[in-house]
Symmetry: none
Subunit: 219 residues, 2 copies
DNA sequence: GTCTTGGCTTAAGGAAGACTTAACATCGGC
DNA sequence: GCCGATGTTAAGTCTTCCTTAAGCCAAGAC
């Protein structure tokens, strides 16, 4: 994990560099804001530790400029204790805040908190050839075209798509649309299938006479 | 946005409840750890504010149990000033902590920081095409024009915007505006949606019949 | 070939859900 | 405690989706 440390105080910076290095981080230590911004363009860092009191420019300014391009985790260091400044820092895009003087252990803890996110962002998108089903958006795309489906149609297609290539018995599809108990002795299911075929493609859903339906997986 | 507040001190808790409510949050206030854990199973909250000094169990224990199941943003409140305790809190899974006594504005700022992290967003300003939402200032801009929204309207829009492009089920929006207990058997939600559409744009919020709503992301 | 069975197609009717509007309640600031 | 702003309730209208039903078609059995 590579960290960019921006701090103009030599002894404090050195102490942090050593401590971070000891923790296993790779550290790039810069002393001013413009160098920092240039370095951040390289896009190689996992986090930024930023002192607000820099010789050339205000740390908050660095932060604002950074935020136009990156979403890098940022921990801000500051000597200012005024509440207003702290709030400005937080709302301005810092992920966390440490007041000087601080204990190194605390800085490290906050760094851990800030960097340990970003995993587990799964996109629940089901793709089968020209058919894309986005469950989160409740949206369906066919050959790049957005298709609008009713609730039942969507549920039906989703179930078929989840087991694409497998036969789903009629009974299961019916109990999916309606509760197990409430029986619909009509052809509602077939009508929905019909609509799906019309909106998508005729050959996408295959009928197994007397058994059920199957979604054709693309070749 | 719905917050679970866990705090045993009556007056402090009440103060926070009022302040949070005024910000537009829906607040569920519980006084002990076991109730909190039970409530957290419902999965309806956007964040947790947790006092570490609880009557029945240690707050850190609550945190540890919570972390086995959820990745909910957590802000910890503590009277303890010992560094060790703070670190234990952070490494134990808290996203941030506030030392008592604290200023409410700071708590709110930290809450904002913590809740917007899940979306990979770093800045207090959320921009979606012509729509700009300033979370800290409670201000909304549409095509450069400032729009004035009520608390509920703002909360609703914010929630939709945070998950822009995704369907938010009605049930979630309802429990977000009103707690579980106070059930609204009326169409308040729809009325708010109506007002938002009127103030912004008709096509911005898409209805998914029988499911929920979705904020359309700009092309 | 024709009969039967199950599926397809179509259109109409109905009902659930959403929209709109306005009046009524509630909250917060002065 | 009053007033304005904000939220909620309620009623009527509208719309979309779902179901129903009736006739047609295709496949397999005889």
């Amino acid at each position: 994990m590579r960290i960019l440390l921006v701090e103009d105080d030599p002894s404090l910076g050195e102490g942090m560099r050593v401590a971070l290095h000891r923790e296993g981080y790779t550290v790039d230590w810069l002393r001013n804001g413009s160098d920092a911004l240039a370095a951040l363009d390289s896009d190689a860092f996992s986090a930024l530790i930023l002192d607000l009191g820099l010789p050339d420019m205000d740390g908050l300014e660095v932060l604002a400029l950074l935020r136009r391009r990156h979403t890098l985790p940022v921990v801000v260091l500051t000597a200012r204790d005024a509440l207003v400044d702290r709030l400005r820092g937080l709302d301005g895009g810092a992920d966390d805040y440490v007041l000087k003087p601080f204990d190194l252990a605390e800085l490290l803890a906050r760094l851990r908190v800030v960097t340990r996110r970003g995993e587990g962002r799964r996109c629940a998108q089901l793709q089968l050839g020209a058919l894309v089903i986005d469950e989160a958006r409740h949206a369906v795309t066919w050959q790049g075209q957005a298709i609008s489906l009713g609730r039942r149609e969507f549920a039906l297609l989703l179930e078929l798509a989840r087991h694409a290539g497998q036969v789903i018995p009629r009974s299961r599809l019916e109990s999916l649309l309606y509760g197990w108990d409430e029986d619909v002795e009509s052809n509602a299911l077939e009508v929905h299938v019909h609509h799906l075929r019309k909106k998508l493609d005729r050959s996408l859903i295959v009928t197994l006479r007397g058994i059920g339906y199957r979604l054709e997986v693309p070749a």
